[in-house]
Symmetry: C2
Subunit: 423 residues, 2 copies
């Protein structure tokens, strides 16, 4: 891969407070890692090959911390219900179709194609309970060049017959077989343990998954405190748990020893948040999903103040769109309504903050990912905003802000993941 | 113009409750007016020319009840403030630039181009205080073929020196000159009286505008009860007014004898709403704007239940996007958060309801506009959703719903306004 440079208007976050901008800057890349950003080309790099993107913006690739690949097919549809009814009416029947590999191939192909053309460079992905379809999804995702975690979903209770694993033992056997076969199979795609959520996983299944997590040193993804009805249900199902997240933690599936990301966290209690902080659990903030299913709005500013790891997520198909730019827009808008309608002690999120969430906030789930500081993997998106006309010259900061609201896949001019150009 | 037919999957509203769909239907047009929708071509129309749009969707053109043309240029920027600060920091300085006709020509040209390519066929538009630039805007809008009302803005107090009319008399003289010159000048564009909002118009100005309204039988557009600080300010400024809207009504600028549309109505009291109902005042619901400036969420369901006229608006540039499809999405999402966070007695808006708002709800401000029933003007948008892939066949209803969340200007295949194809 060697050493080379990107040139353009470079934007990145160091922290949630402020986007750092280097106009007409140079980003040096060595063996897929950043050597840093420089306002002019340093002496020792003279003569390097330079990919000159001119007046375009260079931003870190974005990380989608929570997205359901099989639900892509019904994005934009059926958002007239809250979570539990929505699952039974729309999500579960659709997911059941992925037992058919031909369908899975067609549908996952569409999903992968869209994600590749988006601003996303990394994603943490739910598959379905089906082993063959999930392996296929891994193969398809691997080919995109995006870096992804993909999970075979576990569900052995409170799920329809057509989408339930026979029992915990069978679910665990399948899962272990899947792990062994796929742990080192792909360059870009790795397995992640994926209990759907507490209501659909028996204690025996959770216990077994906890052991697999330890045995294979796997990360974990699941859902947490999304909807009030769901939270009440978990309380009934797990009387032993002090709070929802405790029902994961009991089985070692809530961070601590391993990486863990939990989607939503809209209604997390202070006790739950404290455990998340202590265990290093990531919050996958999914603002559009939480609007569409009327779940509420997670108090993201509070989570940032507490020092939690927070990233952004599209949560297809409870979120309608694969674009993390749109997720940034929704995160700001949701926080404004939360501030106006519910709690004026937490100020709305800023553009700088949601940019941080979409890049470094979520990127760190993948290691040194999400900015261009030395040593970070070179994930970069080149944005071309020429087709968003403006009667006057805008500065780079304004152009970036505008892209949050107005850019789409047409504006993604090029994309690099871990140093490789994939688009 | 003669008699001809459109063929395709025809979707329209009769009322807010349900979208009516006629698959592979015929829409007969005679002299620019609909003769109705038919599942098969009626005998008497055999041999008519048919514009066959195949598997595409045919929907009524949409009406944007409130949009600021001069603000288009900073869409997607500067939404980190509430209304009054936002006006002083972003909107007023930008609007002041339209004293420069060259700038106005460039900026309004961009605005008109985008609007033409959108799903909008009718719009009620704010210009600026500048007479030449507003005439230019009218000429540019007229050429698009869209049907529009355009207003020269009146502001003679509480406005910065660089964007204020010298006094009420001068403002009224300019306005009357503008009316006389432009009332019958354009085929597609008509003048509308446009006091910016109560805080920026003296009583003398309001009184004079009321007389002009009567003398020239003009419609009126303005802002109402958008922001809590604004509502308090109006109370101070107009101690004689029983409520914000009463400060317009006192001068005959609040419906009754003439057509009137008021943007926002987020914080309208029951008394204000009752006057609006009695006077037939239209509500221009601007959900994204009300999120972006943290104004709140208008209780639209209540307004529909009360029998108020309600339509949708993008409110550029407090709303970031010119697409009424996106305004529909935001209307649903805002209503869900209002329901979850503030008041669970008002159920969220449905896709059917927001489709009604965007078509017939706002369209009726222009007369018989917004559906395909016999006698209605033929405003139609042909949506091509081929580039929104789905692994299975979707029915027309699902395809339309999906377009609300996913379609953009690429999906606007053709557009008719009052029977003329403009795209």
């Amino acid at each position: 891969m060697g050493t080379w440079a990107l040139k353009g208007h470079i934007c990145q976050s160091r922290d949630p407070q402020q986007i750092e901008i280097t106009e007409n800057g140079y980003l040096i890349v060595e063996n897929g890692l950043s050597k840093g950003v420089f306002p002019t080309l340093p002496e020792q790099y003279r003569g390097l090959p330079v990919a000159d993107f001119g007046d375009r913006l260079i931003i870190p690739g974005m990380t989608d911390l929570h997205v359901h690949a099989p639900q892509f097919s019904f994005r934009g549809l059926g958002m007239d219900m809250e979570l539990l009814d929505w699952l039974n009416t729309y999500a579960f029947p659709e997911e059941a179709k992925y037992r058919d590999l031909e369908y899975a191939n067609r549908a996952y192909g569409m999903f992968a194609q869209r994600l590749k053309r988006s601003v996303t460079t990394r994603a943490v992905i739910f598959g379905t309970i089906h082993l063959p379809a999930t392996e296929l999804l891994m193969r398809i995702m691997d080919r995109t060049g995006l870096k992804t975690y993909v999970g075979k979903v576990n569900m052995d209770r409170n799920s329809p017959d057509y989408l339930r694993e026979f029992d915990a033992e069978k679910s665990l056997r399948d899962t272990e077989e899947w792990i062994i076969r796929n742990q080192c199979r792909f360059d870009n795609t790795k397995p992640i343990l994926t209990p759907r959520f507490v209501p659909s996983c028996s204690d025996a299944l959770m216990e077994g998954l906890g052991k697999l997590r330890e045995k294979y040193a796997l990360p974990v993804q699941s859902h947490l405190s999304e909807n009030l009805g769901e939270v009440r249900w978990v309380k009934e199902l797990c009387p032993y748990a002090a709070f929802y997240g405790d029902a994961y933690d009991r089985w070692g599936l809530f961070g601590g020893a391993g990486a863990c990301v939990m989607a939503h966290c809209v209604h997390s209690t202070d006790e739950e948040l404290e455990r998340m902080r202590a265990n290093g659990v990531y919050v996958a903030h999914s603002p559009e999903s939480n609007m569409n299913l009327a779940s509420g709005v997670a108090p993201v500013r509070k989570y940032l103040d507490l020092g939690l790891h927070v990233g952004l997520a599209t949560d297809l198909a409870a979120g309608s769109h694969e674009s993390l730019l749109r997720a940034m827009m929704h995160a700001i808008q949701a926080s404004k309504l939360r501030w106006r309608l519910l709690d004026d002690t937490l100020k709305p999120l800023t553009v700088d903050e949601v940019f941080y969430l979409a890049t470094l906030g979520g990127g760190s789930f993948f290691g040194k990912v999400g900015c261009f500081r030395p040593g970070y993997e070179l994930d970069a998106v080149i944005l071309d905003d020429q087709d968003l006309p403006h009667p006057q010259r805008l500065d780079v900061r304004a152009r970036l802000e505008r892209c949050v609201y107005l850019a789409d896949d047409r504006n993604v001019y090029a994309k690099f993941v871990a140093g490789e150009r994939i688009l």
